[in-house]
Symmetry: C6
Subunit: 267 residues, 6 copies
Amino acid sequence: DFLQALQEVKPAFGASADTLERYRLNGMLECGERHRHLKATCMTLVEQVRKSSKTPLLSCLLEGPSGSGKTALAATVGLESEFPFVKVLSAETMVGLSEVSKSNMISKVFDDAVKSPLSIVVLDDIERLLEYVAIGPRFSNLVLQTLLVLIKRTPPEGRKLLVVGTTSRSEVLESMDLAQAFNVNLNVPALKQDEIKQVMAGQNIFAPHDLDRAVAALDQEVPIKRLLMVLEMAAQGEEGEDADLIRQGAKKVDLNRFYDCLQQVFV
Amino acid sequence: DFLQALQEVKPAFGASADTLERYRLNGMLECGERHRHLKATCMTLVEQVRKSSKTPLLSCLLEGPSGSGKTALAATVGLESEFPFVKVLSAETMVGLSEVSKSNMISKVFDDAVKSPLSIVVLDDIERLLEYVAIGPRFSNLVLQTLLVLIKRTPPEGRKLLVVGTTSRSEVLESMDLAQAFNVNLNVPALKQDEIKQVMAGQNIFAPHDLDRAVAALDQEVPIKRLLMVLEMAAQGEEGEDADLIRQGAKKVDLNRFYDCLQQVFV
Amino acid sequence: DFLQALQEVKPAFGASADTLERYRLNGMLECGERHRHLKATCMTLVEQVRKSSKTPLLSCLLEGPSGSGKTALAATVGLESEFPFVKVLSAETMVGLSEVSKSNMISKVFDDAVKSPLSIVVLDDIERLLEYVAIGPRFSNLVLQTLLVLIKRTPPEGRKLLVVGTTSRSEVLESMDLAQAFNVNLNVPALKQDEIKQVMAGQNIFAPHDLDRAVAALDQEVPIKRLLMVLEMAAQGEEGEDADLIRQGAKKVDLNRFYDCLQQVFV
Amino acid sequence: DFLQALQEVKPAFGASADTLERYRLNGMLECGERHRHLKATCMTLVEQVRKSSKTPLLSCLLEGPSGSGKTALAATVGLESEFPFVKVLSAETMVGLSEVSKSNMISKVFDDAVKSPLSIVVLDDIERLLEYVAIGPRFSNLVLQTLLVLIKRTPPEGRKLLVVGTTSRSEVLESMDLAQAFNVNLNVPALKQDEIKQVMAGQNIFAPHDLDRAVAALDQEVPIKRLLMVLEMAAQGEEGEDADLIRQGAKKVDLNRFYDCLQQVFV
Amino acid sequence: DFLQALQEVKPAFGASADTLERYRLNGMLECGERHRHLKATCMTLVEQVRKSSKTPLLSCLLEGPSGSGKTALAATVGLESEFPFVKVLSAETMVGLSEVSKSNMISKVFDDAVKSPLSIVVLDDIERLLEYVAIGPRFSNLVLQTLLVLIKRTPPEGRKLLVVGTTSRSEVLESMDLAQAFNVNLNVPALKQDEIKQVMAGQNIFAPHDLDRAVAALDQEVPIKRLLMVLEMAAQGEEGEDADLIRQGAKKVDLNRFYDCLQQVFV
Amino acid sequence: DFLQALQEVKPAFGASADTLERYRLNGMLECGERHRHLKATCMTLVEQVRKSSKTPLLSCLLEGPSGSGKTALAATVGLESEFPFVKVLSAETMVGLSEVSKSNMISKVFDDAVKSPLSIVVLDDIERLLEYVAIGPRFSNLVLQTLLVLIKRTPPEGRKLLVVGTTSRSEVLESMDLAQAFNVNLNVPALKQDEIKQVMAGQNIFAPHDLDRAVAALDQEVPIKRLLMVLEMAAQGEEGEDADLIRQGAKKVDLNRFYDCLQQVFV
Ligand SMILES: Nc1ncnc2c1ncn2[C@@H]1O[C@H](COP(=O)(O)OP(=O)(O)OP(=O)(O)O)[C@@H](O)[C@H]1O
Ligand SMILES: Nc1ncnc2c1ncn2[C@@H]1O[C@H](COP(=O)(O)OP(=O)(O)OP(=O)(O)O)[C@@H](O)[C@H]1O
Ligand SMILES: Nc1ncnc2c1ncn2[C@@H]1O[C@H](COP(=O)(O)OP(=O)(O)OP(=O)(O)O)[C@@H](O)[C@H]1O
Ligand SMILES: Nc1ncnc2c1ncn2[C@@H]1O[C@H](COP(=O)(O)OP(=O)(O)OP(=O)(O)O)[C@@H](O)[C@H]1O
Ligand SMILES: Nc1ncnc2c1ncn2[C@@H]1O[C@H](COP(=O)(O)OP(=O)(O)OP(=O)(O)O)[C@@H](O)[C@H]1O
Ligand SMILES: Nc1ncnc2c1ncn2[C@@H]1O[C@H](COP(=O)(O)OP(=O)(O)OP(=O)(O)O)[C@@H](O)[C@H]1O
Ligand SMILES: [Mg+2]
Ligand SMILES: [Mg+2]
Ligand SMILES: [Mg+2]
Ligand SMILES: [Mg+2]
Ligand SMILES: [Mg+2]
Ligand SMILES: [Mg+2]
């Protein structure tokens, strides 16, 4: 289908920058110190792969709650690495495929990757690649075994590979010995109150005197993706009538509308 | 078969209005404030999809007891949206199909949907699409994984999609991480006493002095579909002889007949 | 095979009266008020389907212990409805078929049914159609999902359908959400002492002074089918020598022989 | 293979007398009142099927411990019935067949049976036909469902059928609702001390003064088949040297040898 | 492969003596009274099959801990019986075969066996033939059912068969009703201290004053195969330098080396 | 793929020295007495296979925590044995293969091995060959049964075979009776403090006064592979800038950087 088509443009050389941009449609906003440090750690791994001769293979797992920004971070690492081969393996491009086809597709990407001197393979949302569901539990052991081997397989002489995985079910990956197969495990957290405030202030859609009350209404940690969604809903108004004015700064979000949206999204 | 035939009339453009009407054969009766607010919330989501540039994809799960009116509400949202593409995915059109065929059919509809600028896909009775049964439990993990991905897949540039799901087993969908994959979760409730009375008064088939006793006989919350069924049974009389007179208002429902019917239907 | 052959005579129009008679080989004996009321309730549903325009689809589940007369009752309803299409779906005609073939055969019958203006489909012994066994438990989820959908699928404009199911495992069907999918649930009970006496008196094979003692020997509720079986065994005598005389009324059943038979049949 | 070949001689008319004899290689010895009554009860069922017009189908399950003589009894009933069609369905003739082939073979025999006016079908060692094993447990649900239906399927007008089943796992068959599907359940017991003595005396291989001590050494109930095996072993002597003399009555079994054999066989 | 090739030399007549010798590569050493009696019991069964007309089929299960000498004993029985047909069924000749192929191969051997007047079939390491693993547990039910039937199937007139099984998991075979299907069950034990001493003395590789201390170091029962392995390791010396001298009697085993070996082998 | 290609160079004669070197990319560092003794024990087994005529088959399982050096040790044994046939069976060369193909590939290697007079087969990471995952647990029983047989199958006359297995899940292999099928079990441990210090001192990347504090920061046992990884990361510096200087000895590792790396790797 169309997504696959987009990604297949330069198969031998991984994803184009355009494709990677699709994984961070709302950009990379400033979210505070924790997120900054996370990105820096990832970029150090990129440098180690580029420069060290003893570590031709490094792997890093980004884990955290749904919507915390793992995929966007992985895409950003891929973009900023400027490695000649960057490829995202995502269940979105494998809808309806059999276990065998998925395993082959994954295996093919790793084979392609080590034909390039410097490569990044992103395994996005690993529990979806594994077709995991908690009832049972069920998952594709074929895909799992494929990943367990490929993540640890040393590239041939002169080739270097960074594997970046993302997951919101790290406890599941641990029980499969898959989290441990990564060299490094990093937590991508949901936002705390001060981080939330930083993002909301940046959006500039609340009246100054409403901002603190809006933040206070969020009494739990909130993943960045969900926060952006609820801000967008609130900015629409009841019948979509406010959107333009608010985006132009001519109007501010109504607090009650905001509280309503919170209830629908944080059930 | 015939149902499928009806739905296939305009495959590239989703269901015709006629097909959508089939999902609310008893019309949309006035059921009180709660149902009114539910519909309004749904229509706001329609507007957000239509107007917001930051939310090209929105998804909403309607959950509630069997017969509470979820499918009728979803069909109404489709009809009133006036979006060019509205399609209902229902197990009725997939009887006897294999997992693979179901997954492909679902995938095809989502692919078609994003060829239209504004689209609604209704996933009706998701537990049936999943072939779920509590013993085991068993279900189609292939269909589940397909849904988990498609519900979250961003449409290409310039296309917008609203996904509306219905289910009477939301706790099951939660344990599959499927309920959480929807942006918004809304409860479609069974009717309380005052709502029941409103509907029964509207039908005008009880003698005025019988109405309160009839309502009182319903000491639990009743889904709208089951309420309409028991009223129709009662209006038949013992041997189908009263139906015409009652419909014409020339006769009223016998209370004992009504009590009998209640026992058969609310076992 | 032969049974199937019998039933295939008029496939497009359901079972002939002859075929339906096969399901009540021992006739319909007078068994007291409870059985009379049961049949009346079924016939009211037949009338509602015939006359009401709001209920083009009605479904009724007959449940009760093995041999209580469920199949005979369903066949009787079919015969007396005089609907143009009456079809019994029974595992007897599906021996050795695959899940897929069974599902297709069932689906075909429902498709055929709604080509006739007034139709009855009998789903006989649903646990057998489902290939249910308590160990595991195991059953055909394909057949189950087919039934769950077909029982609730509204016929097209102008067609009316009554679905009658029978089962001796209603608790199993409930745990599959299948019992609840029927609009009406009716219990077909085993016979109590007075009902047993009525049937035994009607057979006229005991000496007058033996009848009460024979009835008293049955200290539990007895399904009609098993009662008729034990009476027939007793009437045979030890070596099949009494059968003719007793049938002609020239001899009466020996009580000790009757007690012996009870022990073999009610283990 | 060879056994199958033997049985296929007259497939349309069931087993020949020769084949039935193979199931009771050690003849039918006099084992006391309980075994006599068992056989009489079976023969009454044969007569009922032959004569009664109301019971065209009767079914009887023989259950008891391994080696208690169930198969030999069923074969005897078949032989003495002199019915034109007598067929034994045994796992011996189905080694290595698939579930589907077994189900078809069983189904075919029942279809053949009802082409004859009077028929007996023996389902020998039903747990083996079902491929049952307690670990799991596992079994062929296809074969089970086939049996559940065929055992209850009324033959066409004018045809009569007696089904005789044997099993040493009646509790398993009960948990599958299969034991209950038979009209009559009969227990074929292992032998008690007096019955054992009767059989041992009949063999005439012990010295008169040894007989009681030999019987006393058997402090549990013993199935007839195992009893005959241990007697044969004992009669061999340590190195097979005594067999001929003992059979000719020229020598008697050594009691110590007999005790040794008991230990090997009754572990 | 090569093993199979060896065994296929005279398929219609079972294994050649050469093949049987392969199953006792270290010969049959004198291990004391218990082992002697075991073999004698087996040979009596051989004689009973040869001579008795009432027991055309006998079966014997040899069970005991891994390496206790079961296979070597079964091969010895086959060799010394001098029966025209002796065949070992072993998983070694079935590596990678499907369940169906294994079942067919087994069935074929039993069919071949009863074409000969006197035959022995050895079922070696039955848990391996069954592909048994305790996790699950899992095993081939097809192979199990095949064995359950074949072990009890009477050969045709004039043919005699002895079935010898071996297993180190008799409790598993019991839970499958397979151990009970054998007429005789015999335990092949690991060696006790005095038996160990007898074997070690026979090897003549310890200095006289070391023998008792070496035996004392073995504080548990030891299977013959493991005992011979540890003696061989000890006789090698640290770097394989002692082997020749010790075998020629020119040097004795170093006790510390022996203790080291014990630790590696008896973890 | 490429790895397979490398290994297939001399299939009939096992792996070339080059291929074996790939399994110890960071060489064999001096890790203290325990590791030295381990290797010596392995080499004694090599000698026993080479020289003893009574043990044509020996098998040894190396088990220990992930990264403790099992594969590198096995490869070293293969290299130093100078046996004509040395072959590593690793899941890396079987990615995506079916159970059947894996079983066949393994079987083929064992068949090839015994065509050479002296052979070593390394079964690397047996849990991966078995496709083992703890959830379920699931694994390939086909591969397991293949290994259970091949590990114990005596080579033909005049051929000698040493099987070396590696695993980090020895408790799993025990529950499958697979660990016990090896003649010898050896533990390859993670490094203790003094061993860690020996390795770190050898690397010469810490300032003398920092060494003890760096060692002290490692308060648990550390597998050699993980230790080398964290040292390499630390030597990179924050942005890969220090690597060259440190390798040349011109700069030392910053302790804080080292502490940071520890946290990422020892989560
Ligand atoms: N600093 C940031 N880090 C990550 N994402 C950000 C940041 N600022 C804004 N975003 C936006 O937040 C969204 C994060 O969504 P993303 O899909 O990456 O989350 P996720 O953790 O992968 O979610 P899921 O668990 O559903 O896979 C993206 O739309 C991205 O553009
Ligand atoms: N206000 C209303 N909202 C919803 N349905 C209504 C309303 N008024 C009348 N109805 C009628 O009630 C019925 C509701 O049935 P519907 O199939 O939508 O329920 P459901 O919740 O989807 O049931 P199920 O759980 O069985 O799928 C329809 O026939 C519809 O025409
Ligand atoms: N009043 C009656 N109602 C039902 N059956 C009757 C009645 N009088 C006599 N019978 C006879 O009793 C028998 C009832 O058997 P039927 O097969 O209908 O029972 P069932 O409940 O369907 O049994 P099962 O649970 O085995 O399917 C039939 O032979 C029927 O002819
Ligand atoms: N009175 C008797 N009744 C039954 N069998 C007898 C009798 N006298 C001798 N026998 C012999 O005893 C043996 C009974 O074995 P049979 O195979 O019938 O037992 P079974 O209960 O079917 O065993 P299994 O549980 O193994 O199937 C036969 O060889 C039969 O010839
Ligand atoms: N008296 C004896 N009885 C049996 N085996 C002996 C005896 N003396 C020496 N041996 C040798 O001991 C070894 C016994 O091994 P064998 O394979 O028969 O044991 P096993 O019990 O079958 O083992 P496993 O449980 O692994 O199948 C053989 O090599 C055999 O030559
Ligand atoms: N003395 C040593 N013994 C073993 N490996 C060593 C030694 N010194 C250095 N090494 C290096 O340590 C690494 C050990 O990794 P290896 O893959 O052998 O571990 P492993 O136990 O097989 O890991 P896994 O459990 O992941 O399979 C290799 O890169 C090897 O070159
Ligand atoms: Mg993501
Ligand atoms: Mg609905
Ligand atoms: Mg019935
Ligand atoms: Mg039997
Ligand atoms: Mg053995
Ligand atoms: Mg390794």
